[in-house]
Symmetry: C2
Subunit: 345 residues, 2 copies
């Protein structure tokens, strides 16, 4: 998979430029038995499009393409560059969007079509992925008590990080955007693999964890807490110690992002939204990360995260609502018109 | 892998016939980093042969071949059929030895060269493998608390079977061969796999477990207890219930075996052992299963389990002691001579 970037817009125009960013990578579909229709054979039922990635986020990315197509077919061109960025690796690192930044793409605003139910994301968490690797002392099951079971040594590790998650959630009052959220910090025990043979004490185990951090948090400080938690486990639990834990950061290592208040970009988007939906634009704080941090933090560009309604991202029977998708396409087109200005072809 | 069976002996002789059985399958080697030398490049250090399977049980199988070779090269032939059975699947089911029985091979005694330190195994446990499969409700990690985490739902399952193991060990006083054993019933949490993506709540998890049963135990009664334990877990734990547990017997399902007391076969082996080692034959009860149950239980044939010294079966740096292996080869040859009788070629 590669990034693909296009530009439809007048490079010499006097409008405000725009990056329209969306990712094409999707997470694994899980057991097929959980799906009503095949995850990779999109199916429309009840005006919803079902399939892995329909909502996260082929929908929002497609809306961008059709918004530009509509402008073109109406006989117009944006009055500034509009970069359409189809990027990779949003689901694990953000390296696709980072590559766009590194390649020098920059604009007066960024619009990311993540599917947050027609609401604007004004605050979002950062995410750290980390991996704990344990080494056991394998022996025959006949003398299992003489070995070091790498799988079972992971159980107190899971419990230890659940405790850390609780402590981090207890800090939410320090973060106004998340103070009222019921559970802003989610630790996810995402993958657990260990052992090769039912009658051998497992020689190895690997646990993949994801945890959120609040926007404004220092990645290095939160990492230090992750490491400290493991150090404490090693000191407190003989089995964990024997299993010689190794901590690896194996993917996401990204800050949270808060959209600056009252930017022109937000105001234009709100106006476009109200024009189509006849209702005010909702603002939400979300407990997921998006690629907005690259534009927002590294380029000081207002990064708007706004996309269609749907359900079940990362779950079975993921879908995007097609009525919502059409309306979002219209909002995007109107936003381009107002933000960049348009000129006749 | 296939079974290979040879016969070196006089079919019309008036001696007692013998099955010499050994398995060629080995368990996985685990991470190479745990090994001093490569598990599949046998290396002799300090008169020990290191490698996966060196002890369990290429050693004992090789000793059988060389015992027969020695008899032949000395100009003799056993005075009854001696079937050398190189079998498969001892480590997971016993289906290799079972196939020999099903094919009609039968003799007056069986000798299995499992590496129990030059001692005769007079009692051994049976083994059941079982697998618990859980189905989660996958969701994005941002809302992890709304999902059903199949990996975490397995944690109470592990705890529940540890409790069952404890109860089964508490019954040891009812089994004279194991009453003095510190821990006859070993539950092994052998393999644990679940989840596909660090930022998705796992939709699935599979746990592979091995547990012993006492010789004389009914497989169906012990299975019922395994199933009952799971039923109790489902009733007591909402998360386990939500994860819709499925129990599968995925390999071993074998009874224990107790060698009848004071058989001619045992007496002849003891005599051969004393002749080579100048010390009495030790008798032990072991907490592992071997293929002896097929001959002993299904064919009412005394099944002697007796092989060389070594260490670390199913572990790193497995080895067989080469001095021991030579002596065991001699014992085998002498046992054949006395059990079957030999005639000049």
């Amino acid at each position: 998979m590669v990034n693909v970037i296009g530009n439809y817009g007048n490079a010499d125009g006097n409008g405000r430029s725009l990056i329209m960013n969306g990712h094409i990578d999707v997470v694994p579909e899980g057991p097929l038995s959980g799906w009503t229709s095949h995850p990779y054979k999109p199916e429309v039922r009840d005006n919803k499009l079902f399939g892995r990635g329909a909502n996260d986020m082929k929908g929002g990315l497609t809306a961008k393409v059709f918004a530009l197509k509509a402008i073109k077919e109406a006989g117009y061109k944006p009055n500034a560059p509009v970069y359409l960025q189809s990027v990779v690796e949003e689901e694990c690192t953000g390296n696709g969007a980072l590559a766009c930044v590194a390649a020098g793409y920059k604009a007066d605003a960024a619009l990311i079509g993540e599917p947050f139910d027609e609401a604007l994301v004004t605050a979002q968490v950062g995410v750290i992925w980390f991996q704990i690797k344990l080494s056991g002392k394998p022996v025959h099951a006949e003398r299992a008590t003489e070995g070091v079971n790498a799988v079972e040594a992971m159980l107190p590790v899971i419990a230890g990080y659940r405790e850390m998650e609780k402590q981090w959630n207890n800090e939410k009052m320090n973060y106004p955007d998340f103070a009222q959220h019921q559970h802003p910090i989610n630790l996810n025990v995402g993958e657990f693999h260990g052992g090769d043979w039912t009658s051998s004490v497992p020689a190895w185990a690997v646990l993949n964890l994801r945890i959120a951090i609040y926007p404004g948090d220092s990645l290095s400080e939160r990492s230090r807490q992750i490491e400290k938690t493991l150090q404490n486990l090693i000191q407190e639990n003989g089995l964990v110690k024997k299993a010689k834990p190794v901590l690896v950061y194996h993917g996401f290592y990204g800050e949270g992002y808060t959209l600056p208040e009252n930017t022109d970009a937000e105001n234009e988007l709100a106006s476009a939204h109200e024009g189509i939906f006849n209702s005010p634009l909702k603002r939400i704080a979300v407990t997921a990360a998006t690629d907005s941090r690259f534009f927002g933090i590294y380029q000081n560009t207002p990064a708007l995260v706004y996309g269609p309604s749907g359900e079940r991202i990362h779950a079975f029977d993921e879908y995007v609502d097609l009525d919502s998708l059409k309306n979002i396409t219209k909002v995007y087109a109107r936003f381009i018109q107002n933000w960049c200005g348009i000129t006749e072809l």
